[in-house]
Symmetry: C2
Subunit: 399 residues, 2 copies
């Protein structure tokens, strides 16, 4: 187990009707908030009206910025920074999914840090200053509601890059599973693939002796899988299934499941290129990339005995503990492959693509994506991947 520091002060307010506390919570931080949302579904559902009512009742004023898109854009973030500064907002209040929350986080950092915001995404500098952030989560997926991370697309490239800072953690996040009943099945599935990927990125580590976090990762994955099946067999309005998924989505990415270990994160990087160039939903991209990343690892580990043992045993454990593959392990590779197959079958069963051919990706651009993904150097920690590896994984995903 590695040395680590862990602190997560986000106040989670979870359950039925909890969004009505948004006014009183916001009032702890600010007299005026920047209310940030997509301007579409949360308006239609009446949620934004209820948020405004709650703010009004608590004596909190607001200024609104709408129009956040999936893969949120830097241009809108810059607009938000202008408004937050001009209107002297004391809190950025995000109502929506990961895109809205990530956009709010970037605004919160930009509002109190001069200079080029993109520097933080290119890791040229760092900061511990940001406006406080509040969230009402409407799509359980990104886990951004209590995470340190934030991913923004800079249209100039386009580049999709992350900014990981302690000050990105929201001050409070309100999670009401009822708000997720109306999410279209495709987006529910994208969210599930996203949160599973967050756990799997952490799970695939070379760090030995991380038993507790292994157990917590496996238990959270099993819970997601079981409850996803409930939702996708007629349980759209099953409060408890939605609640398990929603809480699991937050835990998947709040840093708790990777204390003492180093995660991989190559699949996220590989997906970022898909979504930067083709605007594919993050979860759908991960459902395609992750199994291909696993198959590639199984293939290339064979040239080294120690690598082979580490890779096969971890992948076989994943198969046994998460997917119930027979744990006798007479043949580690067989068990590992069966685990990957069950992961793909599960993604298919909830309507996710598992091959690039099921998406709008132009396969002729694979070499370009492979070149872009290693722009800052090799990616991944379980296995360091260069341009050639990245291209091979994209090609496996295309097969």
């Amino acid at each position: 187990m590695k040395n680590f520091e862990y602190r997560n002060g986000t106040k989670i307010i979870f359950g039925r009707g909890m969004e009505n506390q948004v006014g009183s919570e916001s009032a702890r931080y600010a007299k005026k908030v920047l209310l940030h949302h997509s301007g579409s579904s949360s308006v239609r559902s009446g949620l934004i009206d209820r948020v405004k009512e709650s703010l009004k009742n608590a004596g909190v004023d607001w200024v609104e910025l709408t129009g956040v898109l999936p893969n949120p854009r830097l241009s809108l973030v810059k607009e938000g920074i202008e408004i937050a500064r001009k209107e002297n907002c004391g809190l950025i209040l995000a109502v929506g999914g990961g895109s809205v929350i990530d956009s709010a986080k970037a605004i919160a950092v930009g509002a109190v840090n001069d200079g080029d915001l993109w520097d933080f995404f290119e890791k040229k500098r760092t900061t511990d200053k940001a406006l406080p952030i509040g969230t009402i989560v409407t799509i359980p997926a990104a886990g951004s509601e209590s995470s340190t991370s934030c991913v923004i697309t800079n249209e100039d490239g386009p580049w999709k890059r992350g900014m990981t800072l302690q000050c990105n953690r929201p001050a409070f996040s309100i999670l009401n599973p009822e708000l997720t009943y109306s999410i279209p099945p495709y987006h529910t599935a994208c969210g599930i693939a996203d949160m599973m990927a967050h756990i799997m990125e952490r799970y695939f580590t070379r760090e030995p002796n991380v038993e507790l976090t292994d157990e917590l990762c496996e238990g959270t994955l099993r819970t997601i899988i079981r409850n996803a099946r409930k939702i996708f067999s007629g349980g759209e309005n099953n409060y408890d299934a939605r609640a398990e998924i929603m809480w699991a989505g937050a835990i998947a990415h709040n840093g708790f499941l990777d204390t003492g270990r180093t995660g991989d994160w190559a699949s996220h990087a590989l997906d970022h290129e898909l979504s930067a160039l083709f605007d594919i939903a993050h979860g759908a991209g991960l459902a395609v990339i992750f199994p291909a990343w696993m198959r590639y690892n199984l293939k290339v580990c064979k040239s080294c005995k120690e690598d082979s043992l580490q890779t096969l045993s971890r992948f076989a454990r994943f198969a046994a503990k998460v997917w119930g593959v027979d744990g006798a392990f007479y043949d580690l590779e067989q068990a590992a492959l069966e685990g990957i197959q069950r992961l793909e079958n599960f993604f298919c069963s909830i309507g996710m693509p598992v091959k690039l051919s099921q998406t709008n990706i132009d396969l002729t651009r694979i070499p370009e994506m492979a070149k872009r993904v290693v722009y800052f150097g090799p990616i991944g920690n379980f296995r360091k991947l260069d341009e050639k590896d990245a291209e091979a994984i994209y090609r496996l995903a295309a097969e």
Copy 2:
């Protein structure tokens, strides 16, 4: 799943050599600290000298209060409050196990709240004000390093009572598994029983649909059991086993494992009477009480069909998931009993008592303990227990 709020801002600083950061961490909060410890083992090991060195290097002054005993006493807490006020301490720094940390928490509350401190323990009033607390944990057990709770013995009764407040959460806690190598086996075992009890108190709930927290509880218990076996078969200085136990001990009681559910806590109350009257170690008392509490539940649930189904299925699940009892459940009661037996066998294997006859308890005082334990009304949530129930459990523990 019940609605819930969860916030835990304690900064965990975990790993080898981390105690040397105590000076710089303390300096964030105070120019002068009250350094609180037992005055025995942490002095002998040289830890206190290193702490002082680190404080000195960071320009932090200190005043010392030693002499904390197991089942920490209100009289010493009052002394600490006097000193903290007189010396204008800005942080209470606890170096030790749960007793020292609990004593520090009570001092931190008392230092900034006028009136009778015991009122908070008798739940006559509450507060959100306390001095910040820092800890260096030397015994993984109580989980007090990131919990909201604090248990103190008032010698006037004697009464042993808890005070649960958000402001009891330490600002930072330093956990170095190496510091636990030298704990005597009996105290290591007491700590393990204590952290297991913290999880089991949460696990035994009537709240349906708490799958994620069930999984997390079971995974944490399995990790504790496996690593305890490593430590007790020659692995006293096994860093990774000590690290798993230490991190599990913090997680067991930081509130994360009972989001959305109501725990039981009758066994803790029953043990408090043992330790108030006979000064028995908390973990040892719990090792005796918990199996008896389980057997009593199995016995009395039979009079009601619904109670019987709920009790048997939860106890059988505990047996299957935590202890590997065959999950076929042809006979739920048989499975449940086998789980209790394995829990007792485990406690025996690490040198814990499982019967009152193995302790210094005077059995003739059972009626008195039963009367005292329900002083504030019935105890427990999985099953409400009155004086008669409490007496029956003490008697089962004596058999």
